[in-house]
């Protein structure tokens, strides 16, 4: 009940995004038109001051303002039309080797000082139960401004135009006989956040996201089938402006999507067995998310999520040595690629967005790290004798700690976790496959708490026979264990883009992160398919 129910689901100019590239020097913001209000600066300064006076070894403060716009059309009527605007402050302190955090929706210096004092009291309580002191790996001191580069402000597009577009998509889907539910949506997001730390960093960011999508549900006695476009979970999202909605042309794809939903009603179920599978780019994106992205979150690896989201099989002694997949598998974390849903300027510890290899030619080589986990990893690797010969003194955060709003602490979250493109054209890959299944658009997902045993379902599946796409199957599922599955990856395509996963859940209390996955279609051998009776 209460605040955990309602998800916390500011001033824009058509600038190119600005981002500091210096890592080791203090740099004063050279953009005179800063976004932070005097109040935000005051709040940060006063909260840091209280934390310092009370003995905090480190403190940071975030003032966050978030606006969203949601338009949903269903079966010819506007199902939801909603604008939200929330703001608040959060103070994080490190004291006696332990963390404390307090947050308040009241944007005032009084509330900021109270939150700082509360955070200190919480940290003192935390220190009653500890086995080691938190240490922070060094990070550059940064003073900068970052804005998502967009072409057209999505919030400035008139609501009437958005409704008209979705109604057109809706009409296109419902022209197809057999469609029970047609749903179309546009989701916009703008976050203005100001970060200040006791080390002297001061960073302002404005992040903008646009998402859109359609879903057609066909029903016939005893059967329900769904098709979605451009991606499942109702939409595709990116750090982009209105240009994304125009690119994906929802009305132009509506009839096709609806026809496919109806076709699935009379399709035979996906056969069971062990087969060669080609997954489309959107399903590869989710596969990467579940079996790699989560597995390399260092806080999970170190046990921080063990009672809830789980741990990881990619334990520290495996870093640099473990075969995660075949040599064609290369996976990279990259928070700098324009348009990626996991793209930003700085994480919520003030560490610059950057690029980190995670898997190179199939070998596991990198984690997603934060300041305290990087320091802990250094100690763990040292205790293990550093089997992969990593330069431990240079272990630092690679900028993946993000908080879902003012009232949450930063946790390690995926940025854009990308399967690097390969040489194949999808058409050629299908032609190269004698006997297999092509699966497209995720429908269900499940994986164990160590990120090993998984099962996925897709909306759409087609037989491949003699290099050609054949009949359609419904209720397609496939399952496997992560390293065996990726060992069977023998080809990656080159038609690549970053797909958005706007609903990644982690943490207690729950946090939802918006992350991206660059992917193209890929082929996997010897996959167990057809798990539904």
């Amino acid at each position: 009940m209460g605040g955990h129910i309602l998800p916390f689901w500011p001033c824009w100019r058509p600038d190119r995004g600005r981002r500091s590239t210096t890592l080791d020097t203090t740099r004063v913001c050279d953009n005179p038109r800063v976004m932070a209000t005097p109040l935000a600066k005051d709040i940060i300064e006063r909260a840091l001051n209280v934390a310092a006076l009370k003995g905090a070894a480190y403190a940071d403060v975030r003032v966050v303002e978030r606006r969203t716009e949601t338009v949903v059309v269903k079966n010819g009527r506007v199902e939801a039309l909603s604008l939200t605007h929330h703001a608040g402050l959060g103070v994080r302190v490190l004291l006696d080797g332990s963390w404390g955090f307090a947050s308040n929706a009241d944007l005032s210096v009084v509330a900021a000082e109270e939150a700082a004092a509360q955070a200190v009291a919480i940290a003192r309580a935390s220190a009653l139960v500890k086995t080691r002191n938190v240490e922070l790996a060094p990070a550059p001191v940064v003073r900068d401004v970052y804005r998502t580069p967009i072409r057209q402000d999505p919030f400035a597009v008139p609501l009437e135009r958005k409704i008209e577009l979705l109604l057109a998509a809706d009409a296109g889907m419902r022209r197809v006989q057999g469609i029970e539910v047609a749903q179309s949506s546009i989701d916009l997001y703008r976050e203005l956040k100001t970060f200040g730390s006791s080390e002297g960093s001061f960073i302002e960011q404005e992040l903008v996201e646009t998402g859109c999508g359609i879903e057609a549900t066909a029903v016939r006695e005893g059967e329900v089938q769904r098709r979605s476009y451009p991606n499942s979970v109702g939409r595709h999202t990116a750090t982009a402006g209105w240009e994304l909605v125009e690119e994906f042309d929802l009305p132009g794809n509506a009839e096709r999507v609806a026809s496919e939903a109806v076709e699935l009603l009379s399709a035979p179920p996906c056969p069971s067995g062990v087969r060669t599978v080609i997954l489309d780019a959107t399903q590869v994106a989710l596969q990467v998310h579940e079996s790699c992205g989560h597995a390399v979150e260092l806080d999970r690896v170190l046990g921080a999520e063990a009672s809830f989201a789980g741990t990881s099989f990619l334990t520290p002694e495996r870093l640099g040595r473990y075969r995660y997949g075949s040599p064609v598998v290369n996976i990279t974390a990259d928070a700098t690629i324009p348009g990626g849903l996991g793209t930003f300027g700085y994480d919520d510890e003030g560490v610059p967005a950057q690029r980190t290899p995670l898997v190179r030619e199939g070998i596991f080589v990198g984690y997603l790290t934060s300041r305290d986990t990087a320091a802990e990893l250094r100690d763990r690797l040292r205790a293990l004798g550093n089997p992969a010969g990593i330069d431990l003194d240079r272990l630092a955060s690679n900028g993946t700690a993000r908080a879902d709003g003012w009232n949450r602490i930063p946790l390690i979250r995926m940025t854009n976790i990308n399967l690097e493109p390969g040489p194949w054209a999808l058409a050629d890959l299908i032609a190269d496959t004698d006997d297999g299944l092509y699966m497209e658009t995720n429908k269900s997902w499940s994986i164990d708490d160590r990120r090993l045993s998984f099962q996925f379902g897709t909306e759409w599946c087609r037989e491949i026979k003699g290099g050609k796409l054949g009949r359609v199957y419904k209720n397609a599922t496939y399952a496997g264990n992560t390293p065996q599955f990726w060992a069977g990856c023998d080809a990656v395509c080159r038609e690549w883009r970053i797909w958005g996963t706007p609903n990644c859940g982690k943490g207690q209390p729950m946090q939802v992160a918006h992350v991206g996955h660059g992917a193209a279609a890929a082929r996997f051998r010897d996959v167990q398919v057809g798990l539904m009776r």
């Binding site: 009527r77 309580a125 539910v181």
Partner: protein, 446 residues
């Protein structure tokens, strides 16, 4: 806490300022703290305070929704104005009838002072108890201890005026060794009834027994599901089956079956926002009072949940299960209860099982098909093989793929004891359940 008077004044300010034909104000206030621990250390410890207002403005048959957390007079008036402005911009919804008329409602008892005043040190001491228990056996403890106060109020221009304050305290823990793990949890409105010592003992005992796991082949087995696993299945039944929108869209397992025997006669499932064994909530997010609503009565499908929108389209009345606006998910019960049975102990239930799997909890459960409610997920934190009425060994975690409707068609026994489990928006009270058939399709292996 904001308090009833402050919230009432805030709502009245909005209703007075609104130019809509009908206006609804939903207020949610939160004061929540959570102490999280891993590797025998408190590694995260957080607190939040805030309130939020959501306004639904109705102009004819056009609805605009705006929400925000700036709660001064100007702030809330701005939210109201925004809702009205966007209501003007859209076409009419021909299916919309009205916001709910005000109804008599009874207050529910879910506020406990001790929970509201629980301090960081109190939670830390509870965690210290759990950690000590784990350390005695050489185990690591992980989990959380949370205490929160929430306020919910719904006011409308039609006269709805409802306010509720409640508290929730919860402890969950996983004890881990190099060989295995064990889970235990408890939730209540009253922090003083949570016993960290007892919770730790359960998790530690499970962990100690969860060693030398065998690999079980895929197949159909009897299962003994502990309450956390049962509650998970019920929560899916609620969201995808008892949900009146799923029913309207023909994607519920209840479609075409109302009045028919759907499940075992041992199965009864209902929703009751006033039952003090749960986390009571007297009204829904439209201010419609909650009443005991029976979904399954001795195996027979009875009715589904409605909010005012699905009720209007179905030609019936809201059952008081509206979720926060904008709600495109549909009406969902959040105070679920399942009838218990005769089995007075777990030993008694185990003795009846020829070859089966004892499951502590499920993880990462997802829906494969709504009409049969076929789900897939994993077991975790204590999974055991039972043979000839005795626990034979621990097993590696298993993946299941199973229709819940089919599984609940063959209920062999229900425990007498019930346990409360936190759900997405509320809580579910369930027994342990022995099912005759459950399909496991794989296992975790490296």
């Amino acid at each position: 806490m904001y308090g009833e008077e402050t919230v009432r004044r805030l709502a009245e300010t909005i209703l007075a300022a609104s130019e809509a034909d009908q206006t609804e104000v939903v207020f949610v206030g939160t004061s929540a703290s959570l102490t999280r621990f891993a590797n025998n250390t408190i590694h995260q410890h957080v607190a939040e305070t805030g309130g939020e207002v959501t306004v639904r403005a109705v102009l004819g048959k056009r609805i605009g929704i705006a929400s925000g957390n700036r709660l001064d007079a100007d702030g809330v008036r701005e939210i109201a104005a925004r809702a009205v402005a966007i209501a003007r911009l859209q076409p009419e919804d021909p299916t919309f009838v009205s916001l709910p008329a005000p109804m008599a409602w009874e207050r529910a008892h879910s506020y406990c002072q001790a929970t509201a005043q629980a301090t960081p040190v109190r939670r830390a001491e509870g965690v210290a108890t759990i950690v000590r228990r784990a350390q005695e056996r050489g185990f690591q403890a992980f989990g959380h201890f949370s205490t929160e106060t929430s306020e919910l109020a719904v006011f409308s221009s039609l006269g709805t005026a409802t306010y509720h304050a409640g508290t929730v305290a919860e402890i969950s823990t996983v004890a881990m060794s190099d060989s295995g793990s064990g889970y235990a949890s408890a939730v209540s409105t009253d922090v003083t009834v949570l016993d960290p010592e007892a919770i730790a003992a359960r998790a530690v005992d499970l962990c100690a027994r969860n060693v030398d796991q065998a690999m079980l082949p895929p197949g159909e087995y009897e299962v003994l599901l502990e309450p956390p696993a049962v509650a998970e299945l019920l929560d899916f039944m609620a969201g995808d089956g008892f949900n009146g929108l799923a029913f309207e869209e023909q994607r519920s397992f209840m479609n075409g079956r109302l009045g028919e025997r759907l499940l075992s006669p041992k199965v009864s499932i209902w929703d009751d926002g006033h039952d003090r064994r749960g986390l009571p909530l007297p009204f829904d997010f439209e201010g419609v009072p909650k009443r005991r609503t029976v979904f399954i009565d001795r195996g027979v499908a009875k009715e589904v949940a409605h909010d005012s929108a699905t009720a209007a389209r179905a030609g019936t009345l809201s059952t008081g299960h509206a979720l926060p606006p904008p709600n495109t998910f549909g009406p969902v019960p959040v105070n679920l209860f399942m009838a218990n049975g005769d089995a007075r102990s777990r030993e008694e239930m185990v003795r009846e099982i020829e070859r089966g799997v004892w499951v502590t909890r499920f993880w990462y459960v997802n829906l494969l098909h709504p009409l049969s409610l076929t789900l897939t997920g994993m077991t975790r934190d204590g999974t055991f093989l039972i043979e000839h009425g005795e626990v034979k060994s621990a097993v590696h975690n298993l993946r299941f793929t199973q229709s819940v409707v089919e599984a609940l068609g063959d209920v062999r026994a229900l425990s007498t004891d019930l346990a409360l489990q936190r759900s997405w928006l509320g809580a579910t009270l369930v027994p342990a359940v022995h099912l005759g058939r459950f399909t496991f399709t794989g296992a975790t292996k490296e």
